[in-house]
């Protein structure tokens, strides 16, 4: 009897373990497959010319040129959007935690942020487009940056909010007991303790921003030139992938994969860099 039960529990455990392993393999497999596809199809087309030149005449028919316009455009768009989102979300998250806390207002703000997080990016794009039409603005770098900032804001605030909520309240009390004001606790203690988490939140938002095509399609537009001003249109890597993949020419399609590879490398570099930064920032924090 006892032996039997043991047996059943072992089987249950094996099944659970097997299921977990399977889901891990599916995940790792898809990731591997994506990377392999991008590398296999993109690497042959990834030349110095690709990353150092803007498209020349006939680029989309397979003639010479590169996608420097999209690389620079994407970096401008995502950095600008992330910077604005950071500047807005940091005080928002601190306010949310320090002054609203668990009040009903705090709950409402968090709910709206979650709803905003869930809204598809094409809706942000359409919203931005409508707004720009109303203001008489044309598709531009600035428009793209603002829409990306809006897209990233809820992600960043909520990620930071979670990070701040994991802040041990006793640590805040320790600082208050020394006669700190609430502001000093927020800026000198909470912020420091949260820095690694904040770096991660920024990366998360940047990743969504730089990879998003739908929100910049109407708002930033597309151009073969490197944007020289905030009011000029800007190209972006996701759209570069989209346009090139849509042509009937195999060599242009290969360049689409090369563009995807560049995007992946940028995201990877930022991810590794921010991990290193988070580890450095986390040296002094309470675990």
């Amino acid at each position: 009897m006892k032996m039997n039960r043991f047996h059943r529990r072992h089987i249950t455990e094996s099944i659970a373990k097997g299921a977990m392993l399977l889901s891990f393999l599916i995940m790792a497999g898809s990731l591997g497959l994506i990377l392999w596809t991008v590398l296999y199809k993109g690497l042959p087309a990834l030349t110095w010319e690709m990353i150092s030149q803007t498209p020349k005449g006939g680029f989309y028919l397979g003639k010479e040129g590169g996608i420097l316009n999209a690389i620079i455009g994407s970096l401008y768009l995502a950095s600008g959007g992330t910077l604005i989102a950071l500047a807005l979300s940091l005080p928002m998250a601190l306010y949310l935690e320090t002054y609203l806390g668990k009040s009903s207002w705090g709950r409402w703000v968090r709910l709206s942020l979650d709803v905003l997080w869930g809204i598809p990016s094409i809706v942000y794009g359409a919203f931005g487009f409508t707004l720009m039409l109303a203001l008489g603005m044309r598709a531009s770098l600035l428009g793209g940056i603002i829409v990306l900032a809006l897209l990233e804001l809820p992600i960043m605030v909520r990620a930071m909010d979670e990070v701040i909520r994991r802040m041990p309240v006793d640590l805040e009390h320790a600082a208050l007991a020394l006669g700190s004001t609430k502001l000093e606790v927020a800026t000198r203690i909470v912020l420091r303790q949260m820095l690694p988490g904040i770096v991660t939140a920024v990366l998360l938002a940047f990743g969504r921003g730089i990879g998003d095509a739908a929100s910049v399609l109407f708002t930033a537009g597309y151009t073969d030139n490197i944007p020289g001003s905030l009011l000029r249109p800007a190209a972006s890597l996701p759209l570069a992938v989209f346009f090139q993949l849509g042509t009937p020419f195999p060599e242009v399609q290969a360049r689409a994969y090369a563009s995807a590879l560049i995007l992946t490398i940028i995201v990877l570099a930022i991810s590794l860099g921010s991990r290193w930064l988070a580890a450095k920032a986390g040296k002094f924090t309470l675990k």
Binding site: P168, D170, L171, H173, A174, A175, L176, A177, L178, G179, S180, T181, E184, R188, I189, R192, Q193, K283, F284, T285, L286, K287
Partner: protein, 251 residues
């Protein structure tokens, strides 16, 4: 008796639940006062009324007076950060600030702008680490994370950082309960050394510690002060039946 803190008709509630009932006590200057009593009797709550920490609990309510040097710290024109600077707290568990050992001690002096220049901070950091009996152990690693210290060292660091803002009063809420016996001894020894300069109020749940530390004793039961007086009198000749029972370990 030279009174440092005087409590008049103090009542406190968590929501509708009373936690302190009609407290009237006096805390003598530059002595160690020990608050004792069974768990849940309101020791922590009473201590929190001294540095205005009770108001950090949403729904906590308080009436009555707490006079420090004759001044009521609950008057609306009183600056709460100034109260907390003057009345330091050693918590149950040490929470080092997320910065280096040096910065932990310098932090309080820094926010209150207490020193003129770097040299001033440096000298004071050394002074207070020495006062807390930690200097020898950390002088070679001042700029390393405070979290790397053992828990006993962390508690002494918290003592140093509390002393660095030049308080008049040290509050301790079971400050050794999370520590190993050797570290506890360390802290007790320091508190005894410091008592000539600071008024000290310690909450403890162990009778032995109370006997080792106390000059003055406050015995609480169910939110009320049952008995208060010089340690010698209370320990050897308690006036109240409840106190006698507690001292005999009957509850």
């Amino acid at each position: 008796m030279n009174t440092h803190i005087q409590v008049n008709n103090l009542n406190a509630w968590y929501g509708k639940q009373p936690a302190l009932k009609e407290i009237n006590i006096e805390i003598p200057k530059n002595q160690i006062t020990v608050i004792m009593g069974p768990s849940g009797c309101g020791k922590t709550t009473l201590l929190k009324t001294f540095n205005r920490f009770l108001e950090l609990n949403d729904g906590a309510k308080i009436t009555g007076e707490v006079l420090v040097n004759g001044q009521d710290i609950y008057q609306p024109d009183v600056d709460v950060t100034e109260v907390r600077k003057r009345i330091g707290l050693l918590a149950q568990r040490p929470y080092p600030l997320p910065m280096s050992i040096y910065d932990n001690v310098a932090y309080g002096m820094n926010i209150h702008r207490m020193k003129k220049d770097r040299l001033g901070y440096k000298a004071s950091v050394k002074h207070y680490l020495e006062l807390a009996g930690l200097w020898d152990e950390v002088q070679k690693r001042l700029h390393e994370p405070a979290t790397g210290l053992s828990i006993g060292q962390q508690q002494r660091l918290c003592l140093a950082r509390g002393l660095a803002v030049e308080p008049e009063v040290i509050l301790g809420d079971e400050p050794t309960s999370a520590l190993d016996p050797i570290s506890s001894q360390h802290i007790e020894k320091k508190l005894l050394e410091l008592k000539s300069q600071y008024t000290t109020v310690i909450v403890t749940h162990t009778l032995r510690q109370a006997k080792r530390l106390a000059d003055h004793v406050i015995f609480m039961y169910m939110g009320e002060v049952v008995e208060a007086g010089p340690a010698r009198n209370v320990f050897t000749n308690p006036q109240q039946e409840r106190t006698r029972q507690y001292l005999e370990g009957l509850f």
